[in-house]
């Protein structure tokens, strides 16, 4: 009995030492937490950049918290993160005015696309512009074609509502209009299952497409000239973040901004197309467009 007791005590002691040892060796000097919109994170862009950054600053660990744009900004407001990466200009404007975030860096952009069933019953691939495409979806003869709305107040959702407003129609009470209240990947998967239309950012769509998760739907409408479909990603520092963490967060933001090749080349080998475009070469223009987008929604 006594022996058994001693053995258990020894075992627990050993386990404790092991845990302490493990923790001592996994602690890094500086941890910078950044909340980010899921679309940036899910494509793998941020991890890719963080690895490159780590080569220059091996002592810094950048940790990403992937949430929706609005939640990401709330985290910044509460002082839980040092920086945010988001794509929701009208929300960003609000938080900038509130003084929660500062030092905007527009570092990348891409486009929203309309995806839908390959047969394209609403014939949106013939649309002259995005508003026309939405009108076609609205007036399509339907048996079972749905429109999947994010319904989560995200950047993509805000944009979708804005396009409906431009088209002068309100689909929310229609039976074919489904609000899933979900992330982009889930919305695409639902659209794939129900053979419906949805508005998506090109990055998330490509990733799921290449992985063969959404075989029933295709990108049916895209346009690189339509400002309404422009998707702008910005990075901000949180005002509540100070000291060495803030310095590194700033370094990280500058690192992304000043290395346009990293953003431009990301995913080209893997997906065959560019998922993100660096905003650096279009600085003035894109800032104007951002301000325009911040005024909508």
């Amino acid at each position: 009995m006594k022996n058994r007791f001693a053995a258990i005590t020894l075992l627990m002691l050993f386990a404790t030492i092991l845990i302490i040892y493990y923790n001592m060796h996994s602690i890094h000097p500086t941890r910078v937490r950044i909340s980010t919109t899921t679309s940036l994170y899910a494509t793998g862009l941020l991890d890719y950049i963080a690895v490159k950054f780590r080569e220059l600053y091996p002592d810094v660990e950048i940790q990403f918290i992937p949430v929706g744009s609005s939640a990401a900004l709330r985290y910044a407001e509460r002082g839980d993160v040092c920086a945010v990466f988001v794509h929701e200009p009208n929300f960003e404007k609000k938080y900038l005015d509130m003084g929660v975030i500062e030092e905007q860096k527009i570092f990348a952009f891409n486009y929203f696309i309309i995806v839908g069933p390959r047969e394209d019953p609403a014939n949106i691939s013939m649309a002259i512009d995005v508003v026309d495409a939405f009108r076609r979806i609205y007036s399509a003869e339907r048996e079972s074609t749905y429109f999947i709305s994010r319904g989560d107040g995200s950047g993509t959702h805000t944009r979708e509502i804005y396009i409906w407003k431009l088209a002068g129609i309100s689909p929310t009470d229609r039976p074919w209009y489904k609000e899933c209240g979900c992330g982009m990947d889930q919305a695409l998967i639902i659209a794939n299952e129900l053979k419906g239309y949805t508005l998506s950012d090109v990055g998330t769509y490509m990733v799921l497409k290449i992985r063969g998760r959404i075989p029933n739907i295709e990108a049916l409408y895209n346009s690189s000239t339509d400002i309404v479909l422009l998707n702008i990603y910005s990075g901000y520092l949180a005002k509540g973040c100070r000291g060495i963490e803030r310095r590194y967060a700033e370094l990280f933001l500058n690192f992304i901004y000043s290395n346009p090749d990293i953003v431009d080349n990301f995913g080209v080998n893997e997906y065959g197309v560019r998922l993100f475009y660096s905003a650096r070469h279009f600085d003035g223009d894109i800032r104007d467009l951002w301000s325009k987008l911040a005024g909508i929604g």
């Binding site: 949430v67 609005s70 939640a71 709330r74 319904g151 107040g153 209240g181 979900c182 639902i190």
Partner: protein, 215 residues
């Protein structure tokens, strides 16, 4: 006002979906629990498996069912994906091990307690079983209540195979997750409190009703 109506709608759907799921699960779980006690075969192995399945991650179960129900899946032709029925099926599977495990324990305890007593007063086999069944009912009811709270509080299945579609498959937990994603932490907390209060109220109601029947 419209938002209020939507919340009430979501609450009612939650109660309906989880209630039906729990009722369905108890249909097969309770007889199984009695069977395990009375047959008393392979009990260690079965116990271990069932007790492990109690803690199955809901997203894992959700994912498995999604693969099964998706249009390219084995049961895709049923068209169940993203319907309330799918959530009911998922949750009933989820709570099955829980209800079996808890009621098994209480029935076994009662059986131990009353078996010899019943023998000593000369009860026959049917009478013995009736005694054990009637005495173990409170424990079985408690198992069902636990199953109900697990079903109404789970997120993974409702999210994955329900799809959180507004006005159709949105339940309390997916609504909370959505508010959190929107950054509306306050609304999420209010919804969470409502969820807890409802679950507590329903548990108390069931306990009171069952007390009247048992006594």
């Amino acid at each position: 006002m419209k938002a209020m109506a939507e919340i009430i709608d979501t609450i009612l759907r939650s109660i309906m979906v989880s209630g039906v799921a729990t009722l369905m699960a108890s249909l097969w779980s309770i007889p199984l629990a009695y069977l395990f006690v009375f047959r008393n075969r392979g009990s260690v192995f079965i116990e271990a498996v069932i007790e492990t399945l109690v803690g199955i991650p809901t997203v894992l179960l959700g994912l498995l069912l999604y693969i099964l129900f998706s249009s390219s899946g084995l049961l895709g032709f049923l068209g169940l994906l993203y319907t309330p029925q799918a959530i009911i099926i998922g949750e009933s599977i989820l709570v099955t091990p829980l209800i079996i495990s808890i009621s098994y324990r209480s029935i076994r305890g009662i059986a131990h307690l009353y078996y010899e007593f019943a023998l000593s007063i000369g009860a026959n086999r049917v009478q013995r079983m009736r005694l054990i069944v009637s005495q173990s009912l409170p424990g079985v009811v408690a198992a069902c209540i636990t199953g109900f709270s697990r079903a109404i509080g789970e997120l993974g299945i409702a999210m994955m195979i329900g799809g959180n579609i507004k006005g159709y498959t949105r339940v309390m937990t997916t609504a909370i997750a959505l508010e959190v994603a929107k950054g509306n932490f306050e609304e999420a907390i209010i919804l969470g409190i409502v969820l807890l209060l409802i679950t507590i109220a329903i548990s108390i109601a069931i306990k009171l009703i069952s007390r009247v029947y048992v006594a």
